[in-house]
């Protein structure tokens, strides 16, 4: 470093809840989008996110997987308060946003990295200006903010002297995504939401960025919410995982449990749909047929029943609740996992 004065970071939002308090608690999060039809057409709604609840412990990485239209990105945007929610609570370190925590404080405590590295940077700002922008808004002096920006560029593996004064279009996609990560870190957040942050990158670059994310997590004590459609990446990076289908969480639990003994038929289908890695053991049969249904007016009951090979009449009637499969926090929303649910494959009711 050539500067003599120490680089100041913004003070992170202080840890008020202690170790046991989850950094993020989400209860009953719901977002419906009305769809405009014709004058006399029935009113229809996209149930983008429907009664989603989960929590993220401090220092944990939680993955969200699902196909397009399952509501994973909408969930991220709702958490960041980039759009208003219809219902539900978002509690950051024990504090409810809008009551004991201002939106301004929340944005410092929680930052997001988006999939499109180019669209998420201002093309008229240099990289240094983009990274320094947030800290300046939060009251840091210009010189200090620029020094911080250069420091962070170094942290994400970009030599500040070569990159600070360049514009987003002058660098590659992988480098841009590193800039976006540096910008997210500039406000000293404790939680970073990564929404398909490595999906647009080439495989060899993706591996570099995943290594970087692991280093930064260690160095800054971060907590990640990692959203992706790529099951391999989610398995690699996450401690726990949520599987979403058409706006609902159908399964959640520690990543190994979910992978080794998936409790929901959709999770099983998703895992079986991954291309093989062995030329001698190619996939012989598609696990399920058809496309995911339109999230406008999704199927009643269990939303997966239209594609599920085990569906029975009761599945179309009412939505199964997330039910514990073991004592390690592995839960699935399927009648086959609920003892005494009436599904022919359900386990018998326990007599205890």
């Amino acid at each position: 470093m050539t500067t003599t004065e120490p680089i100041a970071m913004l003070e992170p939002v202080e840890d008020r809840g202690g170790v046991a308090q989850p950094l993020l608690q989400v209860n009953g999060l719901t977002k419906h989008f009305p769809v405009r039809g014709g004058l006399f057409a029935a009113k229809r709604t996209v149930r983008a996110v429907d009664n989603v609840s989960f929590s993220v412990a401090k220092g944990e990485t939680v993955g969200i997987v699902g196909e397009s239209g399952c509501g994973k990105s909408t969930t991220a945007r709702l958490l960041m308060h980039l759009m208003p929610r219809d219902d539900g609570d978002i509690i950051y370190d024990g504090m409810t946003v809008g009551q004991s925590l201002s939106l301004r404080e929340l944005r410092r405590g929680m930052q997001m990295v988006f999939q499109d590295s180019y669209a998420s940077l201002n093309p008229r700002l240099t990289i240094e200006e983009s990274i320094a922008f947030g800290p300046k808004v939060h009251g840091m002096a210009d010189g200090a903010a620029r020094a911080l920006a250069r420091e962070l560029l170094g942290k994400v593996g970009l030599v500040p002297a070569n990159f600070a004064n360049r514009y987003p279009h002058e660098i590659s996609g992988g480098q841009r995504q590193r800039v976006n990560i540096a910008r997210a870190l500039a406000l000293s957040p404790r939680l970073v939401i990564l929404d398909e942050a490595v999906s647009a990158l080439d495989k060899s670059v993706e591996a570099q960025v995943l290594n970087l994310l692991a280093d930064l997590k260690r160095e800054f004590g971060l907590t990640y919410l990692f959203i992706s459609h790529d099951l391999n990446v989610v398995r690699y990076i996450s401690d726990r995982v949520l599987v979403m289908y058409l706006g609902e969480v159908v399964e959640l639990g520690p990543v190994d449990q979910v992978w080794d003994s998936p409790g929901h038929p959709y999770t099983r289908a998703l895992l079986a749909a991954m291309p093989s890695s062995d030329p001698d053991r190619r996939t012989e049969k598609p696990p399920i047929s058809g496309d995911p249904p339109n999230p406008i007016d999704p199927p009643t009951g269990c939303r997966f029943h239209t594609r599920c090979p085990f569906a029975e009449p009761l599945c179309a009637n009412a939505t199964p609740k997330l039910t514990a499969l073991d004592k390690m926090g592995h839960e699935a929303a399927c009648y086959m996992a609920i003892p005494g649910s009436g599904h022919s494959r359900a386990p018998g009711e326990e007599t205890a």
Binding site: A207, N211, H229, A273, M274, P275, D278, E284, P286
Partner: protein
Amino acid sequence: MTKLVEISGLNIRFTGERTVYAVNDLNLSLGDGEVLGLLGESGSGKSVTLRALMRLLPKKRTQISGAVNVMGRDVLAMNDEELSSFRGQTVSMIFQEPALALDPVYTIGAQIAESVVRHEGKSHAEGRARALEMLDIVRIPSAKRRLDAYPHEMSGGMRQRAMIALALACRPKILLADEPTTALDATVQIQILLLLRELQREFGMSVIFVTHDIGVAIEICDRVAVMYAGQIVEQGALRDIVRTPVHPYARGLLASTIQGAKRGARLETIPGTPPSLAEKPNGCSFAPRCAVAQPRCLEQLPPNVEVGPGRAARCVLAEPVHV
């Protein structure tokens, strides 16, 4: 095995605001009934190579040299009329984004029928009958009703099936597939891959399949060619390349795969980024990122070394095998 496609010494350069040496000294062949994968990262020249085979590149801004022979005919020398009968009947293509490749103002049935009428000189009624048959072949449910559907009325997976039906309507000998499953959801991708595998066997056609995803290549290809910076750095049977890659780039690409990596363990990476291609490469394009590069790597293009039966790598360190 007879060769349906023979490409030798292909160079493609885009001119205009910037010059890009997109493909450099590329040699490739495709056998009868073979599925060949072009595997590479973005900008490696795989899609450009595919488009050159059908002469789909913008005429004014593209300079092509070398030889492209398809079933004994010189594609680079064809005039517009010859090209128009060549496309669709001999060679056909499917694209990544069916929503963009299909015409939004015509129904699926009309588009398929049109290509049959144009290429085979059949009547409109025969064209429609073929369209219905094709929609059945690609397993679109209630095909009869779907004939009159517009592309926007179909889901992503159905649209991709419709595009496959359109591409195969005139029974081409060769199908070019440009990342046809990349934009699809996981559970749909595997359905389309298995459908393509089945149709390839049924129709006995040859396929060139462009992808960046090794898993996808494993599901569908017999042989793969790994591309880097506009060159094929290694080609051979899928099994050999997946199990024992020779070229350092192919090795790095396969090692950086995340599948099966242990949580918390560091991933293998290839340091650096691909070159800009603004200049014609004089040496090995991968040398600046290569862990085992030597001074001679930068002096000239490395030779294409035969490292096994039907298998070659462009690396000075590759051990030649005499068979």
